[in-house]
């Protein structure tokens, strides 16, 4: 998954992009101001503390030019304690606020992006692998929020620190200050140069690291194949190359960081040395107090820190910009299947349906001159016509890639025709809302997909307000109850992530119960080809019959028993219906269906004898 994170990113700092992102953090603008204020106060305190020491030296301690005195010590202690309290409080506040903004921005962007993902059409999901979307929603968003929460903080702290220290120094001795500040520009340039390179170096490390993770993954998953092919040595060679690349890039990155700091510190010490030299000379002639000299030395030592922070922040922001761009692209993708405003006005949108205006769905489906393509120039269907009456059961058969799934996808309005129209109950379905159709749809996938939660939760997914009685009734209808009751907690058994604790057959039965609960008018079944034992197979067949009765049904069929019972069988090849009719009619034609049937019959029978299940 990580390989998607390291894709190309823009070099130029884009102010407009960050403005747009700050727009998404609108609810936190107040907190951001407060945050900046806290940072400023905190930096101010950092500047004042050395002054306190200097005051103590100059007022209480006996030196060459004045005698010691205890006068003003209580006030000094009180002021110090006050400063301490302010400082501690602002530290607490800015950490609290920074955390609030970071987690909050993360939350808001994720929430919006998730909503967007619920609206984007399947064509989007076809293009974007799940791993890619996952990293947009997790690490990229995290990165973005961190930048907004903390970079601003570092910038505020650093600039206030520099400005306040400079002003203080100027007021103490402007000539010396001017001389000392000469080191700042080269410090800034060097910092900028290094921070960029350090960042790049670490990015290279992460890239190699994700390759190593990939190599381990493959090495472990493919271990059996590796053994049969005797590829151990070659694998090891490839892996060794990776680990050495990793070492090289990591040492390079670490070396860069550990050469940067000494350079900056040494450069800064030039300023300290100069302050000490000139300031010391002033002290001997009485032009400066020891306390002031001490402050100067103190500031020059601390100076490089804010400069480093600012350079680092800009470098971070530059790299976070890549993450920001990717997240923004997701947020700004326009869904290409949308209900028109007129439709939305009457029937509501995907999140706020106006069910009271929904007409009842009968189940007549008609394809009128439908063209469809997934990719430009690769027509899957062209001038496709088909009329199905309410209640009919249609079996779609044909080779892989013939267009069966496309037909079903179009009926479900997961995709829309590129030309022509699909009518439901005689009305173009674009004139109704997506949710209207999909709420009347029952859909069982080839590889049934359950969500984590209990069996009951999963069945109820189709109709969230169903009572326990309704849920159990649905399970009984498809004969799923016996196996459910055999489980430890019955309906309240946890199915595991993606239903991993259930067998394929059990998952299928639950998905049938789920489909039947909503009492859909149109039913779509993408029949599974995976293995289940003979007994489960019979229960599933029974469930299918139950589910189909009285509804318009489309089955992408693999099992002969399912195919034979259909009212109409459509043999599809190359995006066209090449044969159509009942089982007997088609057999008599001795065409494509006949061949398909005989092959499948032999496979199924052989597998039955051998004790397994058919593999279509």
């Amino acid at each position: 998954m990580q390989q998607f994170e390291e894709q190309d990113y823009t070099k130029r700092f884009s102010l407009s992009l960050w403005k747009k992102i700050l727009g998404y953090a609108k609810e936190y603008h107040k907190d951001l101001y407060r945050l900046a204020l806290c940072m400023g106060i905190s930096a101010g305190c950092d500047v004042v503390f050395p002054l306190m020491t200097s005051y103590a030296i100059d007022h209480f301690i006996p030196t060459l030019d004045h005698a010691g005195s205890t006068q003003g010590v209580p006030v000094f202690v009180i002021v110090y304690l006050l400063l301490l309290a302010v400082q501690v409080y602002t530290i607490f506040r800015f950490l609290y606020l920074g955390g609030k903004v970071e987690t909050g921005v993360c939350y808001t962007i994720r929430k919006r992006a998730f909503r967007k993902l619920q609206e984007l059409p399947f064509s989007y999901y076809d293009r974007m692998p799940v791993g890619y979307l996952m990293s947009r929603m997790t690490s990229d968003t995290q990165r973005l929020a961190e930048t907004i929460g903390w970079s601003l903080l570092d910038l505020a702290w650093g600039s206030v620190m520099i400005v306040a220290a400079s002003i203080t120094m100027f007021s103490l001795n402007w000539k010396l200050t001017l001389a000392v500040l000469i080191v700042v520009p080269p410090l800034a340039v060097i910092s900028w140069w290094f921070q960029q390179r350090i960042l790049h170096a670490y990015r290279a490390v992460r890239k190699t690291n994700s390759k190593i993770t990939g190599a381990f993954n493959e090495g472990i998953m493919g271990a059996k194949t590796t053994k049969t092919l005797v590829r151990e040595e070659m694998n090891m060679e490839e892996f060794t190359a990776l680990t050495h690349e990793m070492k090289r890039s990591s040492v390079r990155a670490a070396s860069l960081s550990s050469v940067y700091l000494p350079i900056v510190v040494s450069l800064g010490s030039l300023a300290t040395a100069y302050a000490l030299w000139q300031g010391g000379q002033l002290v001997t002639v009485g032009g400066m107090t020891l306390g002031v000299l001490q402050v100067f030395v103190n500031y020059t030592v601390q100076f490089f820190q804010p400069i480093r922070d600012i350079a680092n922040t800009f470098a971070e922001m530059q790299s976070a910009q890549a993450a920001a761009e990717r997240v923004m692209t997701l947020l700004e993708t326009a869904p290409d299947i949308v209900d028109t405003p007129e439709v939305e006005a009457v029937f509501g949108d995907n999140f706020h349906p106006k069910k009271e205006n929904w007409p009842a769905l009968r189940g007549d489906v008609e394809f009128c001159h439908v063209d469809f393509q997934y990719k430009e120039g690769e027509k899957v269907l062209s001038d496709f016509n088909l009329k199905i009456n309410a209640g009919e059961t249609i079996a779609l058969v044909g080779p892989t890639g013939a267009g069966k799934s496309t037909v079903v996808n179009l009926i479900c309005r997961f995709y829309e025709p590129t030309a022509g129209e699909i009518k439901i109950d005689g009305v173009n379905y674009k004139e109704r809302s997506q949710l209207w159709l999909q709420s009347n749809l029952g859909y069982v996938l080839q590889e049934p997909r359950l969500f984590s939660g209990t069996i009951r939760d999963n069945i109820r997914y189709a109709k969230l307000d169903a009572t326990d009685e309704e849920v159990e009734h649905a399970a009984r209808l498809v004969n799923a109850e016996p196996f459910i009751l055999k489980m430890e907690k019955g309906y309240d058994t946890d199915v595991g992530e993606g239903g991993s604790r259930l067998s394929t057959g059990e998952k299928q039965l639950i998905s049938f119960a789920r489909a039947i609960l909503a009492d859909p008018r149109i039913f779509v079944l993408d029949e599974a080809t995976s293995s289940v034992d003979t007994q489960t197979e019979q229960i599933i067949q029974h469930a299918i019959q139950k589910v189909l009765s009285g509804r318009t049904s489309f089955i992408i069929a693999h099992r002969l028993s399912t195919i034979r019972t259909a009212d109409r069988i459509l043999v599809i090849d190359g995006g066209k219906i090449i044969e159509s009719g009942t089982h007997q009619q088609l057999l008599r034609q001795k065409g494509a269906y006949y061949n398909l049937y005989t092959n499948q019959f032999q496979e199924e029978q052989a597998m039955e004898i051998l004790g397994g299940a058919a593999q279509a």
């Binding site: 590829r231 090891m236 984590s452 993606g498």
Partner: protein, 607 residues
């Protein structure tokens, strides 16, 4: 079992002893310089500028006296400045040395661990991989290795650094003034305890936040992979709520951590600042009495921060140092699993002879007998097909021939040689085995086909792909041979994968070829096409095909029928069709089908 873990840890340290030593020396030098710098400043303030007693060793003062004493220094403070710059540069050189040595040592540790693990995993027996959990193992090989590296190369050094800091501080400060030193350290134990206890106490919050993040990712992942179900039931609104709850929970847990950290930093800063104020006030108090000088004051005020900072870190490091021990154990667990034993005396005979199973009994670890006293012969250069019911042990037979498992009783010979005497890798490289569910590497199609051989020509790849009937779909893919397969690339169908797996096996020189039901996902026509090509390609290769397709089986020189771990029938097609056994039952489906057609056509179909 803990000793092996400790031995490994010791080994990793010992192998990099010079780097660790170098890092240690550099650390000591930088710490010394860090302590010397404030002394130089103090000396300037006290001795040069005020004529108070010097704290420098005699040789420095002798040198200064030869220049003209403290008064000369006061006029020429640039010397002090230069010394300061020099000290910083010197410290810089050593801190670079430390950083580099530390990073090389750390990277060597992870390199060693990674290679050890990878190599070991490859040498683990087949049985281990049948049961292995990929996710957990990858985690051990990546993040646990990282934890160990961080501990050995950074945290260990940080702890040493902190303790040395304390030791040096005590050494210098006690010489300056015992009472101020004690007062300057009065809050140090409190700070250390607070840091340590705090992180021990909040660590569960970090775990809770990790869990909440895992939960959020899981909801997201389920939604994205189950997007069809969501849409089909029109549950977008519900999904938004579900994700919203997980998202909100994560936000709360993360905010809680931020709040806790805010408390932590504010409190520890308060402690540090109070300590620093106490030190300042004490110094002021003593200075007013004339017991100490301004120089001493600057020394104490700057040391106190140098001391507090590493201690604040220490609490945190110690509180999660336990992690590295756990990680080491998890790594060691993999490394402790026994590898396939080495075979120094193994031989490499020709494998062109008969394959003989001689009273072979084989069971898996769960003691279930899979093959029971099984005997049969596969004649050299012939094609033998195996038909068997589910769980009859067909796959075990072919696994045994490649020595992926060893039989408990009986022996298997090839050309008369017991295969236990044959070099394992040699045997596997001469026996081409195509698994039913082959694994493809995330490389290009071309690289996948050539994966088992070191040097290959375009023509060889082309021919192998042609023979495996894979050429058409490869050329149809967007980038042809350069199409990337696997996680980052295209997903191939089961049948396409099988054909690539056949092609890559054909690239090797095979004395024996085995197809473990590896044509099951291709249609019958392609199946026939591949077998015809095989016949042309490898006339004298002994071939074993596991299949349930009568057409495939019938063309073999010999058919073995397996049921429940035994060979129940063997013979040619003609011999078996009338035997009434499993083979004839499968063959008779054809007849059944014709009968059914008769029924259908006369309109009496029961369905």
């Amino acid at each position: 079992m803990h000793t092996s873990k400790r031995r490994l840890m010791g080994r990793l340290l010992y192998d990099n002893k010079w780097y660790f030593l170098l890092a240690l020396i550099c650390t000591v030098v930088t710490i010394v310089i860090e302590f010397v710098t404030p002394i130089v400043l103090a000396e300037t303030l006290d001795y040069y500028l005020q004529g108070k007693p010097s704290r420098m060793p005699a040789f420095v003062n002798n040198w200064i006296d030869s220049l003209g004493g403290p008064a000369y220094m006061a006029r020429n403070l640039w010397i002090v400045g230069l010394a300061l710059v020099g000290l910083n540069v010197l410290s810089g050189v050593f801190s670079f040395g430390k950083g580099r040595a530390q990073s090389i040592a750390g990277e060597n540790v992870s390199l060693t661990l990674r290679e050890k693990l990878y190599n070991h995993i490859q040498k683990l027996p087949f049985a281990y991989h049948v049961k292995a959990e990929t996710g957990d193992m990858v985690q051990r090989c990546t993040s646990d290795v990282e934890t160990v590296r961080r501990f050995l190369s950074m945290q260990l050094m940080q702890v040493i650094n902190a303790f040395m800091m304390i030791a040096f501080a005590l050494f210098y400060l006690l010489r300056e003034n015992v009472r101020i030193t004690l007062i300057s350290m009065i809050l140090v134990p409190a700070l250390f305890l607070f840091a340590w206890l705090f992180f021990k106490w909040v660590i569960k919050n970090f775990r809770l936040a990790d869990e909440a993040e895992g939960k959020m990712s899981a909801v997201l992942q389920e939604n994205l992979t189950g997007v069809r179900v969501v849409r089909a039931f029109g549950q977008q609104e519900y999904e938004v709520e579900k994700f919203g709850a997980a998202n909100e929970d994560l936000r709360k847990k993360n905010q809680k951590i931020c709040n806790l950290l805010a408390v932590y930093w504010a409190t520890s800063d308060a402690l540090c600042m109070t300590q620093s104020m106490l030190t300042l006030l004490t110094c002021v108090f003593f200075a007013i009495r004339g017991d100490i000088t301004v120089g001493t004051l600057t020394i104490f005020t700057s040391y106190v921060w140098k001391l507090l900072y590493p201690i604040r870190q220490l609490g945190r490091i110690l509180s999660d140092a336990g992690k590295s021990s756990v990680s080491m154990e998890r790594i060691d667990e993999i490394l402790r699993a026994p590898e396939e034993p080495a075979e120094p005396d193994a031989i490499r005979p020709s494998l062109k002879g008969d394959i003989v199973f001689d009273h072979v009994t084989f069971r898996y670890e769960d003691n279930r007998d899979v093959l029971k006293d099984m005997s049969f012969t596969v004649p050299a250069g012939k094609t033998v097909a195996i038909l068997g019911s589910t769980g009859s042990g067909k796959s075990s037979v072919v696994h045994l021939i490649q020595r992926l498992f060893e039989p408990q009783e009986g022996k298997i010979t090839i050309g008369g040689t017991d295969i236990r005497k044959i070099d394992r890798s040699y045997l596997r490289s001469r026996v081409g085995l195509v698994l039913q569910e082959p694994f493809l590497y995330s490389k290009t199609l071309r690289e996948n086909v050539g994966i088992a051989v070191r040097d290959y020509t375009e023509e060889a790849v082309d021919q192998a792909v042609q023979d495996a009937a894979a050429k058409a779909f490869i050329l149809e893919s967007d980038k042809g041979y350069e199409t990337l397969v696997g996680e980052r690339g295209v997903t191939l169908s089961g049948g396409q994968k099988q054909r690539i797996a056949i092609a890559r096996t054909l690239m090797k020189d095979n004395d024996i070829l085995i197809f473990d039901d590896s044509l099951s996902a291709v249609d019958t026509e392609t199946d026939a096409q591949i077998r015809a090509a095989l016949k042309r390609r490898s006339k004298d290769t002994t071939t074993i095909i596991i299949s349930h397709r009568i057409v495939t089986l019938s063309q073999a020189d010999l058919i073995l029928v397996m049921e429940d771990g035994r060979v129940t029938e063997q013979g040619t097609h003609d011999e078996l069709i009338h035997s009434g056994g499993l083979y004839s039952r499968i063959f008779n489906i054809q007849t059944a089908l014709e009968a059914e057609f008769k029924e259908e056509n006369t309109g009496y179909a029961a369905v």
